[in-house]
Amino acid sequence: MRPRIGSALFLATFFFGIVAAGLELRERFFLPALELRLWGVQGPALADPLGFASYLSNAPLAFHNLLGPLMKLFGVESFFLPYVLILGTFTFLLAINLFRVEAMGQLGLRLLLITLCLSHPEALEVLTSNPLALLLLIFLWLFTKGLLEANAGNLGRGVLLMGFSSALLVLSGALGIAYALALFALVPILIRGDLFRESVSGGFLVLTFPAAAALSGLFYLGWLYHLAPGDLAFMSPVTLSLNFEILPWLPFLPLIPVLAMPWGRSVMARIFSLKTPVLGILAYVFASALGKEFSLEAILGMTAIGAGLEFLNRQQLSLFHLLAAVSFSAAAWLSPVTVHQSPAIRGSSWHALQAWVRAGVEGQVMILSPRHTLMTLGAPNRHEILRPGGVNFRQRLILGNFQGIGRLVVEIPKGRAAVDTLARYQERYFFSPPKGLQLVFDDETFRVYDRNPKMAAPRITEGPLSKGLPDPWRLIRDVFTGVLFLGGLLVVGRRSINSERNS
């Protein structure tokens, strides 16, 4: 990549990152209140129970008037709108730049395609839904730059950048880990040259080592300070539980060829020579990380992108390839996807809950989210009662639905002894509660009130073009998606046949 473009990208990323961080801070204070206003909650009903009265007076009301139409247009909730706008612009800029370079014949179309993948609603959601967006932005920039450097013949520096970016990425939480794994799977296809041909294990090791080291460091720190990794900087609370599911993936890829040489190496080489299955795995990882109810179409779309990549990898840039890539990407965009938002909170309620879980205290937890508080005005059945340590409880952790916790009420029927156990386990949070945490304690009930101002509730959304479509339009959308998908396949298939004939 030419230095000027690289610099422009960096500056753009940096600028948008700063803006995103600034917005994030601002969000924490007044946007939830704005959101409440949009739902029609007014006056004391809004301010008093949640304690936002002081912030509300500073809220820019002009922004609020703009918010509604934009939300509808982009199909996202207000809280995430600034991120979507900013990161959408960023990815667009990235794509345009890459396309320009590609058009000059300096880079493979693969890069353009990966950019499109990154701009896919799922990826965008990951980036936009998390306060760690800045970290992810830096990752994105480092990784892309590393890739460009590597493909421009500067493999050493490229790998350095990609390695560091992967370390950053895993620090951002489970979604980051999933994303990193997905990218690791892609890297053999993306990086030109003979790195993976010469040493599959070496190639993966050099890319995964910083990430593994970063994770190990976090676990060590967690052990050292008797904290869950989720308590540490950059780690989303959701990460804790998700990590255990995803961690086995980390050693998986590099270990196979290492442990099973030489046949393992040959198997890996064969897999990578096909590539498409790798993309299937990648899609699975994506989808698993993003929500339990993943869309089969999305996986198919991604696998098809893999097929496209496989051909693009071997051929020169052509209209066929471009069409195929655009078709697949569009199909993936359009396919309905279930996305669970996972904005991280570092609220003390989470710590309290974690401590409680680790202490093995029996009892019941009632989670009252601000949305619940809102819903009690008209829909009082939205609260959930879970048993810590139980299957449901775990599932809720895994699904990452705690981010919206505004108030946590812990009821412990076994009395003082259990509370003492709990207190000993995490006295930091119980005898010296952080700001915003209210502690109510008596012989029978242990209550922790957390007034975390970040009020995002779990939600389900879909690809932007499919959001809120009425049934007839859904059919049209599905047909359109299918046409695009099959069209892409047709293009790739025809190209494949032609290239076989020519060879």
């Binding site: 050493g156 520096r157 350095l160 003979d194 050099v206």
Partner: protein, 610 residues
């Protein structure tokens, strides 16, 4: 005066075709016609000398008398004899080698008609210069630096001021330790931790700068294509050896493969007087006219730099380089180095080529060694050059401007890493040190004991170098600037200090991990603990990672997984550092000889070369 070609043709020594071809080569290479006849094997050296004598109307003497004494020569006269390749036989006779019309004119202007010039072979003349000036040159090779620039000589390990400073520091430390042991240990820990954090940051910056592609593109093929052979200067190549006759064929072959006009090479095999095996092997191989054997008289210390100093006095090249016996330099290395000199600043004194190994696959040690060298030479040194700070030279393949090398006093025979010292000394003298993107392949140590010997010498040498240049720290700062001073502290000082403290820190960590003791708690107050954690987690991981990345420029990807065992290698380094430190006090000038030729690859190379 008849032309040389005509004389030789008339004598029937050459044919017309020989002459035509030689004239064409002369035009290309810009050397004397006679040299081409010899180099191409058309004439024997003595035949050329006879013809030249005949052409110039001088007497030729095949063998000079053994009774020549040169004791009466002053040092400048001796120097002149070596520079001009002349030898006073008596008050009226002067033997001269490598004669040309210009040289004869010049000598006649100096000596007048009273002195008769007698042509002889270079071999004869050099032999008698060696014999006649032996004591004088031997003395110079040991004491030239110590007498000209005593403050740069490692002949004294620690000078008075350093001893006083050390005494005060030790006393104060003991006093403090006695009064308040934990606060003292805390202070030490603070210093070590900060040093390691900064060192980590510095190495990170070097790795980053060194990873840039442009450092590998310094000399491109199209640059070399612009060089005209006729304009290339004479290049001296020193090959110091000691008791390694078995690997001699490798370097002989490598030198023969050099892409440089053979007539412009001044190759010298530098052998020790008591090394009869290598001398015999060198004679067996008939090294020929362009490869001289310089026998270094026995004296103390018996070190490579002393041998090189001795040979330096016979060097005729405008540029000079050193290769080890098992070295395989890239054929165009001399041209690349010359090109870098041409493009660099006028004060560019030395250019270091990259070193790497041909036997990286042999065992764990060679793999680790290869990764270390790749990082050092492919990343760190180019980055140091970019930062314009002192570069510690590597053991071989450093290309000097010969006159600059002489100006700074040559190598320090008392320093066991004379190359590293020289790099810093050049900077102190206001010269600069560069690097060139050409590689010399060497034999990596395959044997643990041999490796420890070699590495302990290197670390001892780094300690010597540090002590020598830190005799007057403020002066050093003023001379080389804050950036170079900083770099010197962390690159030279940091190398051995890190090796020494690593096992201590690992020990503390391991003991705490196993026992869970809180005895070290006073040493790790909160902010310091965070820095220590940074070193432990980030620093260690980074240094392992950078080892992995280090091999990328050479595409030795198969080595990457082995980088995980780097901590083990660090412990070996520490073992060598302790040995080096011990020797610094007990036997500072002892040269731990690295035995070459142990590798299977080397044996194969010898076989091929033979």
């Amino acid at each position: 005066m008849s032309r040389l070609g005509e004389i030789l043709s008339a004598q029937g020594k050459i044919t017309l075709e020989d002459l035509t071809r030689a004239l064409e080569l002369q035009r290309q290479r810009g050397v004397q016609l006679g040299q081409i006849f010899v180099q191409e094997g058309i004439l024997r050296p003595e035949e050329l000398d006879r013809a030249l004598a005949s052409q110039l109307g001088l007497r030729y003497r095949e063998k000079l008398p053994d009774t020549i004494t040169l004791i009466h020569l002053t040092a400048p006269e001796a120097r002149r004899c070596l520079d001009e390749l002349v030898l006073p036989l008596s008050e009226t006779e002067l033997a001269v080698a490598d004669v040309t019309t210009e040289k004869v004119k010049r000598l006649k202007t100096v000596f007048g008609d009273k002195v008769e010039l007698i042509v002889t072979s270079r071999f004869q003349l050099l032999y008698h210069l060696h014999v006649g000036l032996r004591e004088h040159l031997s003395h110079l090779s040991v004491y030239a630096l110590a007498s000209s620039y005593p403050h740069y000589s490692a002949a004294r390990v620690i000078v008075g001021e350093q001893l006083i400073a050390l005494y005060i520091l030790t006393s104060a430390s003991l006093f403090w330790l006695f009064l308040s042991p934990w606060s003292f240990l805390l202070a030490v820990n603070v210093l070590v931790t900060i040093f390691l954090v900064v060192s980590f940051g510095f190495k990170f910056m070097l790795a980053w700068k060194g990873s840039h592609r442009s450092v590998d593109m310094k000399v491109r093929p199209q640059d070399l294509a612009q060089l005209k052979e006729a304009e290339l200067p004479t290049y001296t190549i020193l090959v110091p050896m000691y008791k390694e006759p078995e690997v001699l064929p490798i370097i002989v072959r490598s030198l023969a493969e050099l892409d440089y006009p053979k007539e412009k090479l001044d190759i010298k095999f530098v052998l020790e007087e008591d090394d009869h095996e290598t001398q015999a092997r060198a004679r067996e191989l008939c090294l020929g006219e362009r490869m001289e054997i310089v026998v270094v008289p026995k004296s103390h210390p018996k070190t490579k730099p002393k041998a090189c100093n001795y040979a330096l006095q016979f060097a005729r090249g405008e540029y000079l380089t050193i290769y080890d016996a098992e070295d395989k330099p890239e054929p165009d290395q001399l041209k690349k180095a010359y090109w870098v000199f041409g493009q660099g600043p006028r004060n560019l004194a030395v250019v270091q080529a990259r070193l790497n190994f041909f036997n990286d696959e042999e065992n764990w040690l060679t793999r680790m060694f290869t990764m270390e060298y790749s990082l050092w030479f492919d990343f760190y040194l180019p980055a140091l050059e970019r930062l314009n700070v002192p570069i510690p030279l590597g053991g071989t393949s450093n290309h000097f401007r010969t006159d600059y090398l002489r100006a700074v006093g040559g190598w320090d025979p008392f320093n066991v890493t004379e190359d590293a010292d020289l790099g810093i000394r050049f900077t102190q003298f206001g010269y600069t040190v560069g690097v060139v993107n050409s590689t010399t392949l060497e034999e990596a140590n395959t044997n643990y004991g041999n490796w420890i010997r070699q590495r302990s010498r290197w670390i001892k040498g780094y300690m010597q170098t540090y002590l020598v240049h830190m005799r007057a720290p403020l002066k050093l700062w003023n001379k080389i600037g804050h950036r170079a001073f900083f770099s010197f502290q962390f690159f030279i000082g940091g190398t051995f200090l890190t090796a020494l403290v690593t096992p201590l820190l690992y020990g503390v960590f391991g003991y705490w991990l196993i026992s869970g003791t809180d005895v070290f708690d006073p040493m790790f107050i909160e902010p310091l603990l965070y820095l220590s954690l940074l070193n432990l987690l980030l620093g260690n991981a980074f240094f392992i990672y950078i080892q992995m990345v280090g091999v990328f420029k050479r595409k030795k990807y198969h080595l990457i997984p082995w980088a995980l065992s780097t901590p083990l290698y660090w412990l070996m380094l520490s073992r060598a550092a302790v040995k080096g430190l011990w020797q610094l006090f007990t036997n500072p000038f002892y040269w731990e000889k690295t035995q070459h030729g142990l590798s299977k690859m080397t044996k194969q190379l010898v076989k091929d070369a033979s």
